[in-house]
């Protein structure tokens, strides 16, 4: 009877480097297609909200400050995001992309997970508006 054993494999493993990675001591680059945190480029955005409509996790809100002047702020909830990239697919103007570098998404509280994108001036205006109405809910997103 032929006998195959795993001994050879075990002996080879003894002299080989460990297969496990020394993360976080050594941080290897992720593959270029990795789907990490979402990014939004307001430049070409028309505010059509197609990205919001199909998001399965309710992770994006498009807040319109001034529709005619195309002033929008995108509020992204990284803690809800399922990293499915459907929003990236939906945007016809290629405003959305997923970072292959920002994937260490862990924090001790929820705050860092709410990310505002838009021009600094617009975000500032929005946050001020929110602060002024602190007793009320945040402005509702465009449906």
């Amino acid at each position: 009877m032929r006998i195959t054993t795993i001994l050879g494999d075990m002996l080879r493993a003894l002299v080989r480097r460990p297969m496990t990675q020394a993360y976080p001591a050594v941080r290897r680059d992720a593959p270029s297609r990795l789907r990490g945190q979402l990014h939004w480029d307001p430049e070409k955005c028309t505010g059509c909200c197609l990205c919001v409509k199909d998001c399965p996790a309710d992770a994006i809100e498009m807040i319109t400050l001034d529709k005619a002047a195309r002033r929008f702020v995108l509020r992204y909830h990284a803690d809800r995001c399922a990293f499915c990239a459907q929003c990236v697919q939906n945007c016809r103007f290629k405003c959305l992309s997923m970072s292959s570098d920002q994937w260490e998404l862990a924090a001790k509280d929820k705050e860092p997970f709410t990310v505002y994108y838009g021009s600094e001036e617009d975000i500032h205006a929005l946050l001020e508006k929110c602060a002024a109405r602190a007793d009320q809910a945040l402005p509702a997103a465009e449906p």
Binding site: R33, P56, Q86
Partner: protein, 555 residues
């Protein structure tokens, strides 16, 4: 006449005595409307004629206006799907059980009765399967009029037992048990060493996805359904996409079809390797467990490189795929396939020629082809018992129509056969990956999908790593589905483990369960033995005496 239309014609003939109407919603389907009282007779006739196997029972709530609940009994033979459609009044929903002809229907009937409130007359087990103990017995989640703003809970009911009150010893396993990787609750009644009853209680990870999809749009549902399973995420999404695309009459570009198929095969590779590791671990062969999982990383890295994620690759969109293959991906895939192939050959030798390991697998958990047919098992579990049941072969879809699959079948029906089937499937998948890459068509990745899907019903069947995955998709013509029913392969195969365990020594149970893939090992050994007829007094055994008994009993 094609084989499929011959089968459908035959099904129509068999059910003629009871059929009130016959329709063909798709080329490979036949819907037979019958009277609910004729159900057992019609099912028995199909069984007697050996026409296919019971794939699923789908329940539909037709709403308050219609006032009826409809149940669809799907039988599959090759590419043909015949459904017996029965209705019952919503106010007093009752259907006769078909467990006499199809023992595997028990699990489906339990599911339907708790989800839609149908009472099954004559079904052997009426305990809840999925819903929690404190769920109200009058709230049926899949009825359209359920009030979801209420918690629908009641004070906790007593935990389930399988009815043998105090007469036999019941060994409970789970839901939290060191040997279970996922929560599930099994109860084995034993008479001495022999198992005389087995029940399963699932649902500890039940998330109500089938209800939730009715409240989201078609695109959002894709990602929800993908998350039914972490191992076969892609195949769930694929089954759903195929169903929806069929309803919308959208044809996916050939390049996208090939990429979907490629991912399905990569998924099979890593799923089978995961299983190999877990099964080896349960048999006490931890070195093989480590080696298999180490090598599995090759596949995971490939998936991550191409799609950007290891687990939920999310390759599918409705109408195509998201990610294209670049030349460097093709090279990496070819190298990966060559490596896995070499390893699979080595594993094959190992599990077939390691004398110690063979004592744990040869002749254990034997299921004959006849048993496999009656129980309605699918996937590698069926193929280990000599049944050619592989959707990729019987009803090819996607690129399998262009690149035929060689079905892998073993005839021994024991655990060793299931090992051989899965390892040989690794080789077959590697071959397929090469063929798919050689014949990768050029062209677009997506076609446009309408937001509203034409009203209708579609069935899609695909071969998941664990066997046939069955999707029933119903659209009312809107932006959201009306009903989606997913029948996962494990639900079919689990029934086999329960049915096969009756009459077996307790020590065989872990092996029988591991063979179907929801693997778990070692039962709690108990030191209290009740005699088989329950008459003699109970005795408490010392560990040493139990050990000696064990050695003598298995000599």
């Amino acid at each position: 006449m094609t084989e499929t239309s011959r089968l459908l014609e035959q099904a129509a003939q068999i059910t003629t005595p009871w059929g009130k109407s016959f329709t063909a919603p798709e080329a490979n389907r036949l819907d037979v409307v019958i009277d609910a009282n004729d159900l057992p007779a019609a099912a028995a006739a199909l069984n007697a004629a050996c026409w296919g196997y019971l794939a699923a029972i789908t329940g539909l709530d037709r709403g308050a206006d219609d006032g009826r609940i409809e149940a669809l009994y799907h039988f599959c033979a090759g590419a043909a799907v015949a459904a017996l459609r029965v209705t019952t009044p919503r106010a007093e929903a009752r259907l006769p059980s078909i467990c006499a002809a199809y023992p595997s229907a028990s699990i489906f009937e339990r599911e339907l009765s708790e989800m839609l409130g149908v009472t099954f007359v004559g079904t052997p087990d009426v305990t809840p399967l999925f819903l929690p103990e404190d769920w109200s017995p009058d709230a049926y989640p899949l009825r359209k009029d359920i009030d979801l703003s209420q918690p629908n809970t009641v004070p906790v009911r007593p935990p389930p037992t399988n009815g043998e009150n105090g007469k036999h010893f019941i060994i409970p396993i789970g839901p939290q048990h060191p040997a279970l990787k996922e929560p599930g609750h099994f109860e084995f009644s034993v008479a001495g060493e022999t198992v005389i009853g087995a029940t399963v209680r699932l649902g500890y990870a039940h998330r109500g996805i089938e209800k939730a999809v009715e409240q989201r749009n078609w695109v959002q549902d894709l990602y929800l359904l993908e998350r039914i399973c972490g191992i076969c995420s892609h195949i769930h999404a694929t089954a759903y996409c195929l169903g929806v695309e069929k309803l919308a009459e959208v044809t996916v570009p050939p390049r996208a079809e090939t990429i979907r198929t490629l991912f399905a095969e990569l998924e099979r590779l890593h799923s089978h390797m995961l299983w190999l590791g877990v099964a080896a671990h349960e048999a006490g062969f931890d070195t093989l467990f480590m080696a298999a999982w180490r090598d599995r990383e090759t596949v995971m890295d490939l998936l991550e490189q191409i799609s950007g994620n290891r687990v939920h690759y999310s390759v599918n969109v409705l109408g195509g795929v998201k990610f294209d293959l670049e030349p460097q991906h093709i090279d990496a895939l070819l190298n990966g396939a060559a490596f896995i192939e070499e390893r699979a050959r080595y594993y094959f030798d190992l599990v077939n020629h390691d004398p110690l390991f063979n004592r744990r697998t040869r002749g254990v958990g034997v299921m004959t082809a006849e048993q496999a047919e009656t129980i309605g098992v699918v996937g590698p579990t069926a193929r280990g018992s000599g049944i050619v049941r592989d959707v990729r072969v019987e009803a090819p879809y996607l690129a399998y129509t262009r690149c035929p699959v060689e079905p892998i079948v073993e005839t021994d029906g024991d655990l060793a056969a299931r090992f051989s089937v899965r390892i040989r499937e690794l080789l077959e998948s590697c071959r397929l990956i090469r063929v798919l890459l050689e014949t990768l068509p050029e062209g677009a990745l997506q076609t446009r999908m309408p937001r509203r899907i034409r009203a209708g019903e579609a069935i899609s069947r695909v071969e998941a790593p664990r066997g046939e995955l069955f999707y029933f998709v119903k659209s009312g013509g809107g932006e959201m589905p009306e009903r989606i029913h997913a029948r996962t392969p494990t639900l079919c195969n689990l029934a086999s483990a329960l049915i096969l365990s009756i009459g077996r020594p307790l020590a065989d149970i872990p092996m029988i369960l591991v063979g179907v893939d929801p693997c778990f090992s070692c039962n709690d050994r108990t030191a209290t033995i009740h005699t088989a007829d329950g008459s003699a007094e109970d005795e408490t055994w010392t560990w040493e005496r139990l050990r000696r008994y064990g050695i003598e009993a298995t000599r």
